[in-house]
């Protein structure tokens, strides 16, 4: 069905379509609309789920872990400080191999209080063992949420998945949305190690140095296998529903001399900058990273690269710029822009490209 929706409403609609049995919910701006909408679905009977209005995000993730371990599909949503408050349980969810799906509406961190978009919240969770995808349109928020369940629950993965969307600029924007009937695209929830009291087991028992590392390696093995599962899932999604996704969305990058790398809504706005640069004779292209974990393999050989980081790792640099440096031979020009919702236009992005300098880091708007 073709309709219009905000990013938040699209995520809630996709979560409903996936039929979770337990939804844990705690409000935080700018995510709240997702859990409100799910409450409405449960209240009007269109979603048959236990809605647990927990008292904190830490408990939201704990409840999802408990429910998932008991053999039920789970969903929750959070943002910013809520995500940070969950941090311990994010590690636990991955380590316990509970395929929880969560939407994270990317938002800056205090102090000072700031409810606008930034990616530092999600990147702070990069080592938790969660798969992370970043979306750039309302439609993609919907599609990625649906696919997240199938990927997380695949036998080769069994890891939690976080769907990231920019606070306000995507969570609150109204765009067109085509919803689907998911059918068996998302199979019945099945967790082979779910609790079965007829065959009692100890979960998370004390584990010594002689074996602990094997469980860690097992997470990494699944993370590696997830690349294939993601590719298969995206191909199947395209086959069934007609929309094509990959680890990276490339735009006019094939013959580009300079490539803009960005995520989320800035990655879309970059495409407008590419068009205007091309009009001026600059052979620009863009690569919008969709997946952050597992991190995509980019082919940037022979191209100059401008990375826009809507985040920062103090004492080191932009997280994406670091990652590009670590995984390719590129020496990117690093631009730190859009922190705390800082307005960044396509004209600004075009200027980043025109004024690029390999290896240099620039903070947009900072002159000292």
């Amino acid at each position: 069905m073709l309709t219009t929706a905000t990013g938040n409403k699209a995520v809630a609609a996709a979560a409903k379509e996936a039929r979770p049995g337990v939804v844990a919910a705690y409000p935080i701006t700018p995510q709240t609309e997702i859990v409100e909408q799910l409450a409405n679905y449960v209240a009007d009977g269109s979603l048959d789920a236990d809605y647990i209005p927990v008292e904190s995000e830490h408990s939201a993730m704990a409840a999802c872990i408990g429910a998932s371990a008991a053999g039920v599909r789970t969903f929750t949503a959070t943002s910013s400080h809520g995500l940070l408050y969950m941090h311990e349980m994010l590690h636990w969810a991955a380590g316990a191999r509970t395929p929880v799906v969560m939407a994270n509406v990317n938002r800056a961190l205090g102090p000072g209080w700031n409810t606008w978009a930034e990616h530092t919240d999600a990147f702070s969770q990069r080592d938790t063992g969660w798969l992370q995808v970043f979306v750039s349109t309302v439609q993609e928020a919907y599609d990625a949420t649906l696919m997240a369940f199938r990927i997380a629950e695949d036998e080769r993965v069994i890891l939690p998945v976080m769907v990231n969307l920019d606070g306000f600029s995507l969570s609150h924007i109204t765009q067109s949305l085509e919803t689907v009937e998911v059918g068996d695209f998302i199979p019945q929830f099945h967790l082979s190690h779910a609790i079965d009291t007829e065959h009692p087991r100890g979960y998370g028992t004390m584990t010594g140095p002689d074996i602990y590392y094997r469980f860690r390696w097992d997470i990494e093995r699944s993370m590696r296998a997830s690349r294939e599962v993601i590719a298969e899932t995206e191909a199947e999604f395209a086959r069934r529903f007609g929309r094509v996704y990959g680890p990276v969305e490339e735009y006019r990058s094939e013959d580009a001399d300079v490539v803009i790398v960005a995520l989320g809504t800035l990655g879309k706005e970059a495409e407008v900058a590419v068009d205007s640069l091309r009009d001026d004779g600059v052979k620009a292209g863009s690569m919008r990273l969709r997946w952050f974990r597992p991190f995509p393999r980019l082919d940037l050989s022979g191209r100059e690269v401008v990375v826009i980081d809507r985040d920062y790792s103090f004492g080191f640099g932009g997280v994406i710029a670091q990652s590009i440096r670590a995984t390719t031979r590129a020496e990117p020009c690093s631009v730190i822009a859009g922190l705390g919702g800082q307005e960044v236009t396509y004209d600004d992005i075009a200027r980043f490209v025109r004024e690029r300098e390999a290896g240099k880091e620039t903070w947009f708007g900072v002159s000292d």
Binding site: Q175, S176, E269, T345
Partner: protein
């Protein structure tokens, strides 16, 4: 791409107006996006929201800087805000007022949305609702079709007075 900026006060429904316009444009077969600029959310504070309408998918997320049209739901915000900032040459202005101002170089469409809302008793919590009648005005000046405007309103609000108010505004808006 056609860009619109809407000025209102918190609680008057400017954000919903933007959504409804995008919905109507969508029913007209266009691509559209609508989004607010969120400051600290509080009732009565000036609020800005944006709509973009295009035949092509819209990739721009940054704020509208040079609108093709400005919609002012509450003329009193003009004391605090330069509502014409960046307005394109010849760009239209739609104002909820009984005293249409004259703005050099810009067509002004004045309509008494507050009066219309009061007349059809479209009042919630003591405030007249402006965001549905304004769609009637925008349909009248050709931004969206009348059918699409009424459809967007009807699918969003069950109360038929919203559609009634939009129809009235359609009749009373000067082209």
């Amino acid at each position: 791409m056609f860009e619109i900026r809407i000025h209102s006060r918190g609680g008057q429904g400017g954000v919903t107006a933007a959504k409804l316009i995008a919905q109507a444009a969508f029913h007209d077969g266009k691509c559209a996006t609508a989004f607010p600029f969120y400051g600290a959310e509080r009732r009565g504070a000036p609020v800005v929201s944006f709509v973009r309408i295009s035949d092509e998918p819209i990739k721009v997320y940054s704020q509208v800087r040079n609108p093709d049209m400005v919609v002012v739901l509450d003329a009193s915000v003009m004391d605090a805000t330069d509502v014409f900032a960046g307005l394109k040459e010849g760009g239209a202005v739609v104002i909820n007022t009984t005293e249409p101002p004259s703005i050099k170089g810009h067509p002004v469409h004045a309509v008494d949305l507050t009066g219309i809302a009061l007349r059809v008793n479209l009042v919630v919590a003591g405030s007249p609702i402006l965001n549905t009648p304004v769609l009637g005005s925008l349909a009248r000046i050709g931004l969206i079709s009348k059918d699409a405007a009424l459809k967007a309103i009807a699918e969003t609000f069950a109360d038929p007075r919203n559609v009634e108010a939009a129809k009235t505004a359609y009749e009373e808006t000067k082209q």
